[in-house]
């Protein structure tokens, strides 16, 4: 070993390699410092918003508001692709929301299973010929179905065209000025719409979009479309995703929305002004990540046309979703996200990044997303290689590595703690002390493999993008726990 080392040191290219690695080390350090600072800034903003948010929730009587005549009418758009197992239960649950005026538009996106027949049979739907606007071009609509006994339910049957295309078809039929997108596999809390509407009503002119909070329903008991017992997921992968979601939604999105730099409104549950969505030509089809895409386009549209606007986040409006609990499904979901993210950055982000015209969105949100989300895998992977290099070239010892690893760990862990702080301070949805223990445990476990896998998945997603792989991957539906 010593001999080889001596031999290598004498070589001149080795000197160059050392310099390179050292330079990279500095770059990586600055990168990490900047990313951490941005993280801290956003977290600080989130935490600062916690108590104002809590006041808004605590001092508004949501139950009373949910009967008010003055809440805006909302069209719920529910795209469904091969959802025969869960669609009926979910539609029934959506028809029974505590909200005065809304319609549910279910869009069957050319399912290959029995989704269509199940819907038509269950609700005794008949074909009608309503007036459908042609705001946005979509795949061919085969028929629109309705039953006067369920006056708020419409069912669109169309050729397969993807989720975005389904949403566009829903927009064309929708009768109300606000639209809300909801995943067919998730469960909306009864008062979630009222909660979002409250946020909207406080500033209806500027609010172009409001996002809801997504929580993970695995291991919770669901009865009659209502989450009865909130429990921390028992399985490993959902548990990890749970802490990940809490961190992203409470720690991240609250802060981003405070400076109007929110880049995504979750596809699982969000509310939009219809005319603005139409103005940006609706959802972009053919690619995952349409939920981020629409928000980027809304930012762009409003900033370019100097329309005052805000994209708000409403953490108390909760939508429960099933998290993938197998490695295969989770990896395919994450690869899809990685692919969609890259596409959005190349298609939209690149035009707006670092341009003062696009304000916070162009100067902070997009740089953050491109440098630290999209390009994250590359920095991580090269970083790993560099560390390997340092070690091989004897440029460092294990103590130093451990110290830096610990700094990295604790600086990240404090963010998880911050998210839990917000959760406990404002929501406290997990009632038991043991739930908190678990959340802490899994926040720690995230560092041992899960985060690294996340990086890998994103990287593989990018490869998929380059190979022009445009499939949806696998998602297996299961019924909610009874």
């Amino acid at each position: 070993m010593k001999f080889i080392e001596y031999y290598l040191q004498t070589d001149s290219w080795l000197h160059f390699l050392r310099e390179l690695l050292l330079g990279y080390g500095y770059f990586a350090m600055y990168y990490v410092v900047v990313i951490t600072l941005i993280y801290y800034l956003i977290f600080a903003l989130s935490i600062r918003q916690t108590f104002p948010l809590k006041r808004g929730i605590q001092y508004n009587r949501i139950k009373k508001l949910s009967g008010s005549k003055h809440l805006p009418a909302v069209s719920l758009l529910v795209p469904a692709y091969n959802e025969e197992l869960t669609i009926i239960e979910n539609v029934r649950s959506l028809l029974a929301l505590n909200y005065p005026k809304y319609e549910v538009i279910v869009i069957n996106d050319g399912s290959t299973d029995n989704t269509f027949q199940v819907m038509v049979d269950e609700f005794k739907l008949e074909k009608i010929n309503p007036i459908v606007a042609d705001h946005i071009q979509t795949e061919k609509v085969r028929g629109i179905y309705y039953n006067p006994e369920y006056p708020t339910l419409y069912f669109i049957d169309k050729e397969n065209g993807g989720k975005a295309d389904s949403l566009n078809a829903g927009i064309n039929l929708s009768h109300y000025p606000l639209i809300s997108t909801i995943d067919a596999d998730s469960l909306l809390e009864k008062d979630a719409l009222t909660r979002i509407a409250r946020v909207y009503l406080e500033n209806p002119e500027d609010t172009v979009a409001v996002g809801g909070n997504v929580r993970i329903v695995n291991s919770c008991t669901v009865e009659d479309g209502i989450v009865k017992n909130v429990r921390f997921p028992k399985k490993l992968l959902p548990a990890l995703q749970n802490v990940e979601y809490i961190k992203a939604f409470l720690g991240g999105r609250i802060g981003w929305s405070a400076i109007n730099g929110l880049i995504i409104v979750s596809g699982a549950f969000g509310v939009f002004q219809k005319d603005k969505v139409i103005a940006v030509k609706g959802y972009r089809g053919g690619y995952p990540g349409e939920d981020m895409n629409i928000v980027i386009k809304l930012h762009r549209y409003c900033l370019e046309n100097k329309i005052p606007y805000r994209v708000a986040f409403c953490p108390d409006a909760v939508c429960w979703t099933q998290a993938p609990d197998t490695y295969r499904i989770l990896s395919s979901q994450r690869k899809r996200w990685g692919r969609g993210n890259l596409k959005n950055m190349i298609e939209e982000g690149i035009h707006m990044v670092f341009r003062p015209k696009y304000k916070v969105f162009g100067l902070l949100t997009l740089p953050y997303n491109i440098l630290f989300e999209t390009l994250n895998p590359y920095v991580r992977i090269t970083g790993l290689l560099a560390i390997l290099g340092y070690w091989l070239l004897n440029m460092t010892d294990w103590q130093t590595l451990v110290v830096f690893a610990l700094v990295n760990f604790f600086s990240c862990f404090i963010l998880s703690l911050g998210a839990l702080f917000i959760e406990e301070a404002a929501f406290s949805r997990y009632p038991r002390l043991s739930d908190l223990n678990k959340m802490l445990l899994y926040s720690f476990l995230m560092f041992l493999g899960y985060r690294q896998l996340g990086v890998l998945w994103r990287f593989l997603g990018h490869i998929d993008y380059l190979r022009n792989n445009n499939t949806w991957g696998t998602m297996v539906r299961t019924r909610f726990n009874k």
Binding site: K69, N129, P204, D206, M395, F410, S411, I414, L436
Partner: protein, 390 residues
């Protein structure tokens, strides 16, 4: 490298300390939360009889008495929340007053008044909310003062709602509305919802707002007046039909159509030729519910409208009018024969025939079915014969 490692070690110490602090705080909050929940369960058992006592004697003449067992501060808070729920659930002012009186005897009003006057911001908002629930008129001046300096966020509306609930007269509410006007963000719907919580003469207030200059006030007035139908409302709304703002036009037309006892021909003509499709649609829908044959020609003309929704609504309105309307519709559709629109209109008629044929037991629908079928066959009929149901 030595120095940076040293720095890193120092940073590590700081980070570990911060982590520890955060962790302690989070646990402390969780434990407090668990404790509070347990205390609440105990409160419900311990004070069950007392709460039943309050519920049972809300109507009686006697003043409600304080709990017979001593209360902790936390329990007082729970009782406050429970009383708030009670006050909000029922409308009898007498009952409300009794509950408020109890709140006063419990010292809750004094407590919150004091916090409103001199507490931290957080305490002030909390006090504002509770004073609002308890309808404490004396709190209004302080609340209004707070409102005037407040920035535009969620708490602003919490305070505004508190003012509305506490309002002693219209003047209080007007002041509240005016101090919100400086945040011009189109939240008039929320404001109407807030105003409707007050115990004042809302009709007078909304009527006054309709006559104001400020567009937001007008919007509030028009929205608020929707619940009242009187000729006065109709004429007030009529005056605003030509307002320069489109949103006001739409709401004014809507209100006018809802409240006017009759529609003069010239007004209908004007509305049906309005540039805004929404207004034309509203008008057709109003005519449709009226079922007055004198509007047959107006409805027939609207079949030429460029907005499909208006055409559809006109067609349905004509069908609902019976014999005359139906034959007008069929001749109207005939004019477009061969065009896409003609096909479409015919489709509407056929669908209606099909729909009506399924309900032969309803005499009114049966008559319409026969009339429609007759007119249809006479003008457009070319397909297979559909039989009359008698």
């Amino acid at each position: 490298m030595i120095t940076s490692t040293n720095i890193a070690i120092n940073i590590l110490y700081v980070l570990v300390a911060c982590n520890a602090i955060f962790m302690v705080v989070v646990y402390a909050m969780k434990l407090k939360e668990v404790k509070t929940r347990r205390a609440f369960d105990q409160f419900q058992i311990k004070f069950k009889d007392y709460l039943t006592y309050i519920q049972a004697h809300l109507h009686s003449e006697e003043r409600l008495r304080l709990p017979n067992i001593p209360m902790s501060q936390v329990e007082r808070g729970f009782l406050q929340d429970w009383l708030n729920d009670m006050i909000e659930s029922f409308t009898d002012t007498k009952q409300r007053q009794k509950l408020t009186l109890l709140c006063e005897d419990l010292g809750l009003i004094e407590y919150h008044m004091q916090r409103l006057g001199s507490g931290s911001y957080r305490a002030k908002v909390d006090a504002a909310y509770h004073l609002g629930c308890m309808r404490v008129g004396e709190a209004v001046p302080l609340l209004l003062k707070m409102l005037r300096q407040h920035k535009h966020d969620s708490s602003l509306f919490v305070i505004a709602r508190a003012v509305a609930k506490c309002a002693r007269d219209e003047h209080d509410v007007k002041q509240m509305v005016r101090s919100l006007l400086k945040h011009e963000k189109g939240f008039h719907d929320l404001l109407v919802d807030i105003i409707q919580e007050s115990d004042i003469d809302q009709f007078a207030l909304f009527t006054e707002f309709v006559q104001e200059e400020h567009p937001t006030l007008i919007m509030i007035g028009l929205t608020g007046l929707k619940e009242y139908s009187s000729p006065g409302v109709a004429s007030a709304a009529y005056r605003l039909i030509d307002h320069e703002r489109e949103e006001i036009q739409v709401r004014a037309v809507e209100l006018y159509l809802n409240s006017s006892p009759f529609f003069p021909k010239n007004v209908v003509h004007k509305l049906l030729h309005h540039a805004n499709g929404e207004i034309r649609l509203l008008t057709i829908q109003a005519l449709s519910t009226l079922r007055n044959e004198s509007f047959v020609n107006a409805l027939k003309d609207s079949l030429q409208d460029e907005d499909k929704r208006v055409v559809h609504a006109s067609a349905i309105a004509l069908i609902n009018l019976g014999q005359t309307g139906i034959s007008a519709l069929c001749t109207g559709a005939l004019a477009y024969r061969g065009q896409e629109k003609g096909e479409w209109l015919q489709g509407i008629i056929e669908e209606e025939i099909k729909h009506l044929s399924t309900e032969p037991h309803d005499l009114d629908k049966l008559t319409r079915y026969n009339a429609l079928l007759y007119a249809y066959e006479k003008t457009l009929g070319k397909k297979n014969r559909i039989y009359r149901v008698v």
